[in-house]
Symmetry: C2
Subunit: 410 residues, 2 copies
Amino acid sequence: MYSGYITVEQSAGRSLFYLLQEAPEEAQPAPLVLWLNGGPGCSSIAYGASEELGAFRIKPRGAGLFLNEYRWNKVANILFLDSPAGVGFSYTNTTSDLYTSGDNRTAHDSYSFLAEWFEKFPHYKYRDFYIAGESYAGHYVPELSQLIHRKNKGVNKPIINIKGFMVGNGLIDDYHDHRGKFQFWWNHGLVSDDTYRLLNDSCLHDSTVHPSPACAAALNVYKGEHGNIDLYSIYTPTCNETAASRRRPNGRYPWMTGSYDPCTERYSKAYYNRQDVQRALHANVTGAINYTWATCSNTINRNWRDAPSSMLPIYKELIGAGLRIWVFSGDTDAVVPLTATRYSIGALGLPTTISWHPWYDVQEVGGWSQVYKGLTLVTVRGAGHEVPLHRPRQALIMFQHFLKGMPMPG
Amino acid sequence: MYSGYITVEQSAGRSLFYLLQEAPEEAQPAPLVLWLNGGPGCSSIAYGASEELGAFRIKPRGAGLFLNEYRWNKVANILFLDSPAGVGFSYTNTTSDLYTSGDNRTAHDSYSFLAEWFEKFPHYKYRDFYIAGESYAGHYVPELSQLIHRKNKGVNKPIINIKGFMVGNGLIDDYHDHRGKFQFWWNHGLVSDDTYRLLNDSCLHDSTVHPSPACAAALNVYKGEHGNIDLYSIYTPTCNETAASRRRPNGRYPWMTGSYDPCTERYSKAYYNRQDVQRALHANVTGAINYTWATCSNTINRNWRDAPSSMLPIYKELIGAGLRIWVFSGDTDAVVPLTATRYSIGALGLPTTISWHPWYDVQEVGGWSQVYKGLTLVTVRGAGHEVPLHRPRQALIMFQHFLKGMPMPG
């Protein structure tokens, strides 16, 4: 495990933090996969590495770590990046940067990071390279992929040997995402008939990141209607004060699916604010983070600038370039729901190679999949927004098939 | 607990089996509630009484019973009826009856049953009486309610003192049910874009019970796409040969929600075929059931005759008559899904009294509810087709509020 900083902009003092979890010796040379979380403003160390696909998960109250049985670094070298500067352990010495983040700079800083990182880890040069991520990384992943692809053009043997990308419960296209999102809410009973109509009238043509006042008002009505549920996983319990008291003697929750702990998000906050942990990770070495470490930066999130309304043109360009592109969706997420993804992918109008079909994990349906010419869509049954958190085994199976470029097991 | 037969048609030898589970002394005089299961062809003893709201549930392999903590007879006297003749322990001495069952005779036989039953249990005469049921009982419940209501007309103090009814995941109106059902499937990823279109083209104006050949063909394509999942509860594991082997050492299933056993349906078949059990229940006393007892009769199901395409006219009549009407929906059922129910209720065009809102069980959202003038709609979050099976505590809370005529707890 390696971790540390790479400065991406000397003059501004923007420095990005990474964590590398390598595959075991016997699996090498395995591909290198960059994992990005969204927000915008959320830490890949807090989410991806610490509660989803990373090698370790964090114990209650940040007391320590335990091994994740379904860690993705069983089959690939996983590089987690806190991006952009101001997120997680990544920082900037220019405060105004926090108020001017956007898609474009995020992509370019990430590219600078990678160029430098490969110099530090030269044995990964020319290695098969993939980018994966979820949620708002539905923007970061194709944008960075496009930048790498374009920079690689005409280069005979590119150092950043990008082969493809994978996006889970990601933003793809504002119009189609909105349409599908509202329909998903109505179909799952989260919204009234009246508010469903209001949302379609007020938000359909809005930007997801920059909604109009009318759309924001409609979303506020919706908020009152869905009540206190975890929108990122609509059938699991929420983390609240009585969550602990509702634990059964055997340590499980009466409402819970599998062994999911709804308070898991709190633990990384406790853990990564420990000074011994920061020292061990070579994090915050300059003391630039003189504030409480947070899983997500509200400042970054609230001041986000450029956010293109559609990734579909990039999808088209990179499908044309022959990159391997997988889109997946945990089907019990109400934030970027399956229906949104279906509409957005549908808008690409790609021909079908393998029709919609269930995929299996032993005898259980893990979800459904459709293979298009140039893109594979995979759903994960019963998984929320963070697919590897709620369905860790199924997520690893999916990741393995992605790396092999094989359709999901029928 | 009482059980036995009432002959509803002497000449044909049609005899209906019932099971009464009374409320405890301290809860009396509690209302009397008739519970009906659908199919058509399925036994209320097998489903309602033995795996849903009944006082007892059946142990694996039919080895015995255990108490249901959330039994509905804590607050009401529950009368389970196997209906029509040919279903469960109910029988007919006229074989042709099995091939000519339909809604109309089912309602009239059930009425005859009740008239006679109240003579046997005279202390229930004039008692507040409700009918509840699920699935195809979405037909039986309003039809029988209507019949009772009409027979009561002009009677000063009716013996069958019907106050209202409650239907869960029930058929209401074929057109709106179809529309919502297909949309629910698409939103949950059970069906491809192409088949979704095909279903809308082929089935939308069909009868649910008697689909056209084109619609049957489309449904067959869908069947291939959804794969081996429990359509009645789309996020729980299926019962299959390895289900037992997949149990964890602590007796729980890796995939399962709460303590639901996906093989539960099998146990009633083992239990109710035991001769000692039949003797104890006064079931099959004449030996008319000289075949293996089944949870559902395929013969009845496949030969069903009259099935009106809409219950909405009955809803209108009985809302007008002031009956208390509740419709509920477990929101993870793909057989008669929430979306179907929303479209069907929407078609009534009733004014709203209390807007769509979450209802709470302690701090967790139990589901959502909307109160219309004359009808209350309640969803149960994470529950399948058999709501009291998957969310027993939430189902009992709902039942208690129904009996009190109170909106769900906000």
